[in-house]
């Protein structure tokens, strides 16, 4: 067992521990902070796998964007000190059993599948290479998905504004 594998086990334990606390913590704000730590751990895993660009995107978009949005929405809708009601014991038991069964099944499949690992070539994931392919219109280029993603983001932005817009004070409390 070499040093890089030990670092991997530390990162993996950090990610799984933080994720487990994120889904079981009783206070919703603590849950969001544990999610933040879990996402930072995943960014560290990407650094460990030597794909720096994905690690940077993970840090900027997830840690800097999505978690901040989630924390904003928690502060707009909750009293951060309140405990959330505990889920019923039966639901916890059955959800835990379903998850454990799924883990056992998938681990069994993964463990008995023999992957053929290629030799020689190493992944060339530097930013110049990714950027060239991202706007390339040649075969294997990603110009069309790139433009579609920009349209999707524009549509999401307009949609958010329309959905969250307050339509006058008269129908604020209406349920229909």
């Amino acid at each position: 067992m070499d040093a890089s594998l030990i670092i991997f086990y530390c990162i993996a334990a950090f990610i799984l521990g933080a994720a487990f606390l994120a889904v079981t913590s009783a206070k919703i704000f603590r849950s969001a902070i544990w999610l933040l730590f879990s996402l930072i751990g995943i960014a560290a895993l990407y650094y460990w796998m030597d794909v720096q660009f994905i690690a940077a995107v993970q840090t900027i978009v997830y840690v800097g964007g999505i978690v901040v949005l989630i924390i904003f929405s928690i502060f707009l809708t909750h009293n951060a000190n309140d405990n959330m009601p505990k889920p019923p014991v039966m639901r916890q038991v059955f959800a835990g059993l379903a998850s454990l069964f799924g883990i056992a099944l998938v681990l069994h499949l993964v463990y008995h599948h023999s992957f053929t690992t290629p030799t020689g070539a190493a992944l060339n994931g530097d930013v110049a290479n990714i950027g060239t392919l991202l706007i390339s219109t040649e075969k294997g280029g990603y110009a069309l998905p790139f433009e579609l993603a920009s349209i999707l983001l524009l549509a999401a932005m307009i949609g958010c504004i329309v959905i969250a817009m307050r339509k006058g004070s008269a129908n604020v409390n209406s349920v229909e």
Binding site: V23, S38, V57, Q58, V61, G96, I103, L153, A164, V175
Partner: protein, 104 residues
């Protein structure tokens, strides 16, 4: 096992996926369910990057899938939070059990 740590990374992502699944099944608060969905999306991203790096290192498909999944996850989270804020305005709660107008 091989010398590459692919199998360990797959174990990690399986664990992360089913932790997210557990959260999605037990929680009834929309914001915490959204957090569980983010965990599940992240486990898929780890799989894409690991398969690309250790099985197909001469291509970049997995990295591009990861980038686009992160983009779509950001758009999805923004729309979901707009919906949550609207739900809170009309129901004064973000619990899925309270939003049952469409239930037959």
């Amino acid at each position: 096992m091989s010398q590459t740590p692919l199998i360990q990374i797959l174990f990690l992502s399986v664990g992360l996926f089913f932790i997210g699944m557990y959260g999605l099944l037990t929680r009834r608060n929309v914001i915490t369910m959204l957090m569980s969905i983010e965990l599940i999306l992240n486990s898929v991203n780890i799989n894409f990057v690991a398969f690309n790096k250790y099985l197909y290192p001469h291509q970049l498909e997995g990295l591009f899938f990861t980038i686009f999944i992160i983009t779509i996850a950001a758009a999805e989270a923004a729309v979901a939070i707009a919906i949550i804020i609207n739900l809170y305005r009309s129901h004064h709660s973000v619990d899925v059990e309270d939003a049952n107008e469409l239930k037959w």
